[in-house]
Every structure is written in C-alpha cells, then in structure tokens.
C-alpha cells in the first residue's frame, strides 16, 4: 500500500513539473484534467482485480510532458510572441550580428579580410615594394623585362634587393600521393622569399642543393596545406606532380602570407633561365632610410646606363606592397562616402520624417544609435562578402587605373552600399518613433490611382500603440513628407486588448 501511495505522489510530482511547460493562463485547467484522470486511474488500480501497475501509471504521466509541450508550441501566443519579438530592434541587430558571424565561420574566419587589415607575416613589411614601368601606354607593358632584373642584380647593393615572379597566376593540377588538387600556382625566383623575409611554417623556402637537378621545387600556402592536405607534417617527404612534371614540396608558408594573389596556393621555385625573354613582376626590399622616390631614381639610373633605355622608357614606379594591399580599402571608403553624400539630401529634406519625435535626449540617442549600428552592421556584412567572394588579385603589376575600372568588388560595394543605406533608411522610417518596433497593420488609404495603380497613402500603426505613421505613396509633391501621429493614453486599452487576444479558439 505504501509503495502505491508513493506511486501516486510521484505521478503528481511529474504532472506538476510538466504543468510548468503549459502557458500560465491554461495551466490550472490543464493540471485539473490530468489530476482527475490520475485520480480515476488510481481508483481503478486499487481494486483487487486490476492489472494496472504503478509503472504503467507513471508511464502515462510521463506522457503529460508531450501534451504540455504540444500545448506550449501550438498555441497562438507562441506565434504571437515570436511575431512581436521579430518587430523589435534587438531582433534585427541580433540577426545582422548572427549573419556576420555565420559568414565569418563559413568563409574560414574572414581570411582575405584579415590578410588585408592585419600585419603581414614577414619582416618589416613597409619596406617591401613592387616595381613597375610607368612610361608605357598599354597596361600590359607595366611589367618589367627580365633583362632589367638581371641588370639590377649585377648592381645589387644594400639599398635595394629585387626578385622576379610571373605576374599571372595559372591554374595547375597538383597531385600528391594520388590526391589531386586544382590550385593556382605562380613561378617565382627563390630570392622572392628572401626579399620578403618570410620564415616558413614548415620546411624551408630555399632550394636545397640536392634538388638542383629537379625542375620544380614547390612551396605551399598555409591555407592549402591545412585545407587540401589536412595539415600533414609528413607532406615534405612525399613526391608531387604539378602539371605533369615531377616536383618536390620543400616548405609551407606561414598563415596569412599571400602574394601576388590571395588564391595562389603553390609557388614554384624556378631558376633564372626560366624567365629569360619574359616580362615579369618585380618585388624589391628597400634598405633602411631608402625612400620610394630614391629607389625609383636608383633603379632607373641602372637601366639608362646599362640597357641604354631613354629616361621615358625606363620610367619606374616603386610602390609599397602594404599600401597596394590596402588600396582597395581607400576606394571602398570613397565609395561609401559617395553613398552617404547621396543619402544626406534625402535625410535632410525631411521627406522620410526620420526625426525621433521626442524631446528626451536619451530616446533620441537610442533612435540614432540604432540607425548607426544597423547601417554599420549592414555595411560590414557587405564589405566582408565583397572581399571574401570576389576573386580579386590585390597586387596587380599595374596601378590604380586598372583597379578602378576592372574591379568587380569595388562596383559591387558601391552599388550595394547605396542599396543597403537606402534600405536602412526605409527600415528606420517604418519603425515606431518611441519604442523602435517595426510598425504593423498596413492600411491603404484613398483610392488606387490610375498612375501605376498606386494608392494615395498608407498608414502603419505601432504594435504598442505609441502612434500612427502616414506615408504618401502617390507623390503629389516632394515636400509632402511622411507624418507621425502620436497616440495618447486613451488608445492604450485598445492595444493592450489586442495583445491579450488569445490564443486558442
């Protein structure tokens, strides 16, 4: 008898705990129904002929959790609550932050963006510069004849040291131990890594003496090593084939090192003869106290004296790599500036009527800080997407003009930033001037016009009953702005009744 009594108490406890899941308003009735069922079953189980065991009773009571969960999840108030939550400013900000975080994770933690904004992993990066010709009209001739590199190397001093690379990366088929990878590769002189002053993550970047007979020595990017070869430390001992030629992997570069493009996964170390007669890209390390202008004059003088080129043909430009890497950011900032300038007349005209309609400083600050945070997050997402997804080589042998004209990312950012700022303004306009919730209950006003079938106007209401917004849809006049009508306390009961509306028919 005692154990049966325990069973009843246990079952009551289970029901009590399950009842906490049920929405408060329906909880008492829900519990009453279950307890009545339990009492009835308890009576039956007390009869001698009953085959109803305590376990069965308990199992039935555990089912109350499913019933309570159904009650909670299928009631209108959950939908109503989620709809109300989606109207809040916190919901929008949370959505934007989550989108940014998810994109960062999906893109491998914003590798490209970090490689632009963080300090590069080589010694004294401000002294690394590209060398290109400027005395030519065709941009394809901005690259340097390799014979010039040979001249500079003969006269190499502590002021300027140079290294050449093939300026156009190519797509190569790269096989290690039967594992095939398609990767962008670029031919470089082994001096390139010495000029950069980069310390490898694994192995070395100098061609080993025993590999002199081998046509290809390869250095991999950190990302490729991690992504394609699962950070295998034994990779250096394995044979590789690149574009049908036998090769040996001699090193892995540190994280975030990239040159000349972020997509390059393999650098092929080649000897001087491989570049004979070709035009190449050139990287130089400037000595301490050596300015870019001084280096230009120094290198140009060598060419005029040794190759007999005219000063016009030998005109050079020495441009720090770090400046070039960050060059797109300057143009993005300019594009953003233009977009903001376009928005200023719209904001100042008062057409959208974006004033917070309050004399309280704190509330006005909240209004504008929400607008600022929202716009900042939107533009950050756009910038991250543009930088990570557009296949943009950041260090061209050519200069600014090429970047502006050919850059898909710059155009995407310019157009996208105008669109997003406009969306941010429109979203701000359709929010309550008091609580910042999204306005609801759109109601068209007047008759639909004969011009594009648009309506005379539309009214939106704050879900908390703070006011109404009248938006003119058919433009009678540019100076006919949106109008905010605050509602006083007499309206409060109407909106509170609405929020109480139930739940379940």
């Amino acid at each position: 008898m005692t154990s049966r009594f325990d069973t009843l108490e246990q079952c009551r406890m289970i029901l009590l705990v399950a009842s906490w899941i049920v929405p408060r308003r329906a909880r008492a009735e829900w519990l009453r129904e279950w307890e009545a069922e339990l009492a009835s079953a308890w009576q039956v189980s007390r009869s001698d002929r009953s085959t109803f065991s305590g376990n069965q009773l308990r199992r039935r009571c555990w089912g109350a959790f499913l019933d309570a969960a159904w009650y909670r999840c299928n009631r209108e108030d959950l939908r109503h609550a989620s709809r109300r939550w989606s109207q809040t400013p916190a919901f929008l900000l949370l959505t934007l932050v989550s989108t940014l975080l998810m994109f960062a994770l999906a893109s491998g933690e914003l590798l490209r963006m970090r490689s632009i904004l963080l300090k590069p992993p080589y010694r004294d990066p401000k002294r690394i510069a590209t060398v290109s010709r400027t005395g030519v009209i065709n941009s394809s001739e901005w690259v340097i004849p390799f014979s010039w590199v040979e001249i500079w190397r003969k006269h190499e001093s502590s002021h300027v040291s140079v290294a050449a690379y093939s300026w156009k990366p190519r797509t190569s088929v790269f096989t290690v131990d039967g594992h095939q990878v398609m990767a962008a590769s670029v031919k470089v002189e082994q001096d390139l890594f010495r000029v950069f002053g980069v310390t490898p993550e694994l192995g070395k970047t100098d061609r080993p003496s025993e590999a002199q007979g081998l046509a290809n020595c390869l250095v991999l990017s950190y990302e490729s090593w991690r992504r394609d070869f699962e950070s295998d430390p034994g990779l250096l001992q394995k044979k590789a084939v690149i574009d049908g030629h036998e090769a040996r992997i001699i090193g892995v570069l540190p994280e975030r090192f990239w040159f000349p493009s972020n997509d390059v996964a393999v650098w092929r170390l080649v000897d001087d003869r491989s570049f004979s007669g070709e035009n190449v890209g050139v990287v130089a390390r400037l000595g301490p106290q050596v300015s870019e202008r001084w280096a230009e004059a120094f290198l140009q003088r060598d060419i005029e004296n040794s190759a007999g080129e005219s000063p016009w043909d030998a005109a050079l430009q020495v441009w720090p790599v770090q400046d070039r890497i960050r060059q797109p950011m300057i143009f993005y900032a300019l594009a953003l500036g233009v977009a903001l300038l376009l928005m200023i007349p719209v904001i100042c005209s008062g057409r959208l009527n974006l004033r917070p309609q309050t004399a309280e400083v704190a509330r006005a600050c909240r209004w504008w800080s929400f607008f600022g945070t929202k716009s900042f997050l939107l533009l950050s997402i756009l910038l991250a997407v543009v930088i990570e997804l557009t296949p943009e080589p950041y260090v061209f042998p050519a200069g600014k003009t090429t970047f502006i004209v050919e850059s898909a990312s710059l155009w995407a950012f310019s157009i996208g930033s105008v669109f997003l700022l406009w969306w941010s303004l429109a979203d701000q306009q359709s929010r309550c001037r008091v609580c910042l919730r999204k306005l609801t209950l759109p109601a068209h006003i007047g008759r639909s016009g004969c011009l594009f079938l648009s309506w005379v106007g539309m009214e939106l209401a704050c879900p908390e009953g703070h006011g109404l917004l009248h938006i003119t849809e058919t433009d009678v006049c540019w100076l006919d702005p949106a109008q905010w009508t605050p509602l006083d306390e007499s309206w409060e009961s109407l909106f509170s009744e609405r929020s109480e509306i139930g739940v379940f028919e």
Binding site: E33, E37, S40, Q43, R60, D67, N74
Partner: protein, 103 residues
Amino acid sequence: MDHPIKLSHTSALILQTISQGYSYGFDIMDVTGLPSGTVYPALRRLERDRLIQSTWENEALAQERPPRKYYRLTRSGNQALLSAVKRYPLLERLRLEAKPKGR
C-alpha cells in the same frame, strides 16, 4: 464548399473510440493502446479543429474523485469520422465494444 478535414490514422481511431462512448483520456488509452503522449495532443488538435468538444463532469456525479473532462463528437466530427472510415477501410472493420453507460 468546405473540404472535409483529412485525418491521420491515429486521429481517426480516437474519433472512432469517442464515438463508441469512451470519452476521457485514460479510457481512450485503455481501449486503443496508444500512449498518453499521443492521445492527449491528438485530443487537443481535434478540439482545436472543432471535431470534438469537451465538457467538465458534473461534480455531483463524480464520487470520491475530482470531476473529469469528457470529450464528445461534434457534427463536423461525425462527418470527418465518416469520411475517415471511407479513407481507411480497416477502421470500419474495427468494431469496438460499445461502452456501458455510467462507467
């Protein structure tokens, strides 16, 4: 014209059970063998869709126990059961023993 609600096997079985006079949760569980986690949510759904209606037992009739909540079929519940029987021929073969009154 309203289309009849298409019921699942479980819901149709519960409707059938209620139509035979088994009118509260534990009773339906005993007859159908379905667990409480299935029967009660199904009863909520059927009530939401107005196929059954619940009423509290008269306190005077409930002896030595709290009054129970009884369920009975509505008119649309009867129609839904008829169309469910057409959809599920096996349901028609299931003849439950009609519950004696007053139990």
